[in-house]
Structure formats: C-alpha cells, structure tokens
Symmetry: C2
Subunit: 357 residues, 2 copies
C-alpha cells in the first residue's frame, strides 16, 4: 500500500488511504499462512458467533499474537461490508443538558462492537451543513436526535444510510424512531396536579423549534381543556437555567399573583424557576406553589431541589436505539417501526400531587 | 464495487468495504470529465487552500452539482491520506460531569473539518480493552483524557497514531499535552482562604486513581505546610454528588466540629457538601463554614449555590487541543510540548476569600 499505487478504480484508490499506516499491515492471509489454516478460518475466528474448532481457534490465536495481528474494523468489514461506525446527529445543547443520553447510547453501541461518531451542531438551522458532513464519512447508519425535514430524511434513504430518530418523529411520514411519549407524560402530570386541587396553571415552554416542547405543551393544554380548567399562562423558555427564572418573573408579571402550579418544559428550567420563586418572591415550594419539570436529570435529585418531574427511561431507550439501528444495518430492509416508551413520575418534593383525575 | 470483486490485495480488499454504497459512486474523474479539466484540478478545488483559477473552480462546482458529487472523506484522504476522524478516549463519568469539555472539543474539531469518534469507557481498568478498539478504526489521531501507562503510550507511538493528553501528563516521559495547572490552582485557593483567616481545613478528595485529584491534594497540603497551618482533614470522594454529602458527614464525625473551610475536589462534590452542611448540620455558608469547588461547571452558578470555585478555561483548552493534534497529524513529527493553562478564581458566595497570602 503506497501512494504510487495506480488507481485500480477511483473508489478503491480513494478508500485505500482511509487507513494511515506507515508499514505494510499484517493481514489475515499472513496469519492463515503461519497457522496453516485457510484465510476464511482466520476470519471465522474473529467473527462473533461463527463456528470454528477449538484446535483451529488456538492455532489462529497463537499465530495472530506472534504476528501482532489486529483484526481491525476494515478486516471485519471484509466480511460484513461495514465500518462499525455510526453517526449521532445531535444539537450541542442536548449534549450539555442530557449527557446521560449520549453516554448511554455510546455504551450500548460499544457493547455491540460499534463506535459513535459525533455530528453535533450548534443550531438547528445548521443541520443541513452538518448532514453534508455526515455523507462524507464511512458510517453504517445514524441516530438522529434532530428534527429532520422530509427532504433531509429522503436524503438518508437515497444514500442508503439507515437511521433511527431519537425522541423525534416525522409528521405524515414513516421512519424508524425511539421516542418517549411526551404528550402522554404531560397529560399525566396535569392529571396528578389537578388531582391535588391545582386549578390555575403556568407553563414555561421549551424553544419554538423543539418538537418535544410542542408535544408537552399540547398534552398540557389538551388535558386542562378536558378537565374544564383555565388555559395555562404560557411564557417562552430556552431550556436553560436562566429561562426558568425569567419565566417565573414573566408569569408573575402577567398574572400579578402566582398560579397554583407551574409546569416547566424541562428540569433545568424548573430548577431556575424554583430558585427564582424562592429568592425573588419568597414563595414556599410546594406550599404556595407547585413546580414540576420533565426529564429526570441528575441535579433534579439534589437536596436543594428534589424536583417533582417525569423521568425518561434513558437506558432502555438507548438499548432499543442500538438494537433497532444495528438491525436495520444488518438486514438492509426497513419496516418502519416506532417504539414508544413512557415517562415515569418522580414524586419529589416540589409539587403536591394527587391521584390522577 | 461488488462483493464478488477478487481481492487485488488483502489491504485493498479490506478497505474497499469500508464504504457501504449500493450503487457506483460519482468520482472526481467523472466530475473532471464533465467539467473538461484534469482530475487533479478537481482535487484542488476541494482541497482547502489549494491554488485554482476562478474559471476552473466555477466549472468544477457546476459539474459537481450536476452529478451530485460529494467530495467525501475518502476522496479528501486520497490527497491527504487521512480519514478526518479523531478518537476521544475518555471515562464515561467525565462526559457526564463535564459535557462542556466534550462539546467544545467536538466543536473545535468540526470547525477544522474533523469529526470525533467517542471511545468512552466505564472504568479506568478497562482502558486496555478500549485502546484495543481504538486501533481497529481508521482515526488520524486521538485526544486522551485518561491516565496512560508508559506501555500504552508507547503503543500509540508504535502504531504511529499521534495523541494529545487532555488534563493528564505522563510521569518521567515526554508527551504532548494540554493541561490546566491543578497544583497552582489548589495553592491559589488555599492562599485566598488563608488570607481571610481560615486556619483549619477539610478536603473532600477525588478518586484515588485520578491524577487531577492527586495534584489538587498536593497543592493544598504543600501550601498549608508552607503557611504553617495544620494539615487538612482528608476524606475520600468519588467526584459525585453523594460523595460531597458523605464527605461532609465524615469530616464532622472525625473532627466533632466543622473546620473553617472545606475544599472539595470538584464542583459536584462541593454542591453535595453545601446541601449536607445546610440540611444535615444547619450551618450558614459561608458564615460558619467556607466551601469551595474546582472546575466551574454550569450548576455551580445556580442561585441556590453560587459556588466559590476555580474555573478551567475549557474553550481555550479545546482550541489548543485541536490545533496541537491536527498539527501533529499534518507534520507527522513530534516535539513534545505541554501547554499549561491557569484556572481562574470564581469568587461566588460560598467562601470568604481574602487577598492571597
């Protein structure tokens, strides 16, 4: 493998340089030759689950060790035609606020022999630029935790890159997705709060371009309407700590008085809301005001907050995502499926909850 | 490119399957042919900084668009012999506790046309298994935020994979590294606390296998000794919230009374320590007890805490890391260099600080 090798084909020429290696690499053929077995026997020894005799296995492993042979991803892909890399397309803010999701996804893929390439982007309107980069790397598939347009989704299909949406789905289109039912979760929280007698609600909403925020808001307003309770006072938020405090002050400005309960679009805003309610308005939480969040992040459990919230089952969702995407990559066929998980109420100490009404 | 193509050589055979593509890909030769220019002219058009006339550039771009040509990483590496992927080798806990470091590193590499492959591992003793995986992927280099043994570091060199240590260095060995001076930072905090009259210190230490924790502890004990102040009461911690509360209770158990100041090995433990001091011992912070952290994470700034801490300059450190690693990859030569950044004191509201003594 030298740079003066004439291009057998442009594709092979391109690809040969994907691996940077100063000296000739030891190949499975070298190992086969030393072990006195066929190359396919060597391949089978390094292929999980493949059948091979104990004796052959021992001979191959000995030869591999002597030659310092690494069964690398390229070698594996000789059998599987795969790079064993998957892309994760995600907003930077999502990594900052939900590092447990990325950690769990990475762990689940790693346990299945696959590594994650991070395609994070700073703003949703830069998604197109990020996708242009995705196509440039040899990934087997992608987890997309971003809102795809129909055109963008079609581009994945056209390029035969399987993808699984994480906590997103496509309106009026079929796509594989792992989601937590945000609408149901929001309705449940309203029901439990109404069950404890709360009547006047505030909502510190998530960003306008967040589909999760939209579903949560829709769940809240629908359920309040069904219960014949007043529509909530809605103020905008950006999913960050500062938004929670700003939201609390905006609701007080608009209403003149605190509502019975404020539902926040995520935990970090709920924490900001609690801090403002306590420090700016000297309100007793939950005595004078119930405050709830969404997500169940680690800091929601800290003694100063003990937030009442809805926890997304991150670990099972990550397992399902890895299994679904690797299944799509293996089978190359797609029967679009949406696996929907339910959030779990964390009772905490910042809201009075009753039985669901 | 079909699976029945005979292996021209094992290496080319291996590598051709790195890219999964059901139909023949449009190549730079196709673009060259349509634009009526040479293939090398097409290459130059997609190579940052390469010289090409305006007219040629326009013709190539038009042809590329018409043919839907993607100048992919493989094509770029035809020129550069690079995959434009770098590995980040990091403990899972570090992602959970310091997501801003991963986010900033990923952003800095992305701005330089390079994407990050995550090699996270759950425990330090699984680093060998993780490195075995690193060798299997076509990365150009790696950022290592883990403690490497001399043998592990030598393996990077032997395999010609350049690496930059992030907040780690190798004892008695030269290696490229970007670090924040933990020893200096710890000494500064002791000086500022001593300057406000604190005499009896407690330390909630980081994990035993953390080199950062060791340097912070060494800075604290050395500076206290120089100031002829008593050695600190040291209790073990695990860098998590629960450790902070446990540490606070352990210090009270050992001392019978609160020390003047407790320095915590990181911010999350300091937050746990504050919560325990307030809720379990009804202590006024900082009136009766000063508590400080390290790192300057987002939640340290929340109203309920407003932690006095030392902030690591994450953004400049990430810029330096990306520049250093890409420099090593480009030049292939290595004059080991350590770039050392200083932490900045965040005055906060949980400790009484004086002028440095």
């Amino acid at each position: 493998m030298t740079s003066s090798l004439p291009p057998v084909s442009d594709t092979i020429g391109d690809i040969q340089s994907l691996i940077r290696r100063p000296t000739r690499r030891v190949t499975s053929y070298d190992v086969a030759s030393r072990a006195g077995v066929s190359q396919s026997a060597v391949s089978r020894c390094f292929k999980p689950g493949a059948s091979v005799s104990k004796e052959t296995y021992a001979r191959v492993m000995k030869a591999a060790q002597e030659l310092d042979y690494t069964p690398n991803a390229a070698a594996r892909s000789l059998i599987t035609r795969r790079s064993n890399l998957v892309g994760v397309v995600v907003n930077e803010l999502a990594i900052l606020h939900y590092p447990d999701i990325l950690t769990e996804l990475t762990r689940q893929f790693a346990e299945r022999g696959v590594r994650v390439v991070l395609f994070s982007f700073p703003r949703e309107n830069e998604l197109d630029r990020t996708l242009a980069e995705v196509w440039q790397h040899p990934i087997d598939g992608a987890v997309v935790a971003a809102r795809l347009s129909a055109v963008q989704a079609a581009e994945f299909d056209r390029r035969c890159v399987p993808f699984v949406l994480f906590n997103r789905h496509l309106r009026d289109q079929q796509a594989n997705a792992i989601v937590c039912d945000q609408y149901e979760a929001a309705r449940t929280m309203v029901s439990r709060l109404a069950g404890a007698g709360h009547k006047r609600f505030g909502l510190i909403d998530g960003p306008a371009d967040s589909s999760i925020a939209q579903e949560r808001r829709r769940g809240i307003t629908d359920r309040l309407r069904e219960l014949a309770l007043p529509a909530p006072v809605v103020v905008a938020g950006e999913y960050d700590y500062a938004s929670g405090g700003r939201g609390m002050r905006a609701i007080m400005d608009q209403s003149g008085t605190a509502p019975d309960a404020i539902i926040c679009g995520n935990d970090v805003m709920a924490i900001g809301c609690i801090d403002s309610a306590r420090h700016d308005f000297r309100l007793d939480i939950p005595g004078q005001l119930s405050i709830t969040g969404f997500d169940g992040i680690a800091s929601a459990g800290w003694l100063s907050y003990q937030l009442t919230t809805l926890r997304q089952p991150v670990q099972p969702m990550a397992v399902a995502t890895a299994d679904m995407l690797l299944g799509l990559i293996r089978s190359n066929t797609s029967y679009p499926e949406r696996r929907v998980f339910s959030a779990v109420v964390v009772e905490g100490g910042t809201a009075r909850l009753g039985p669901a009404v």
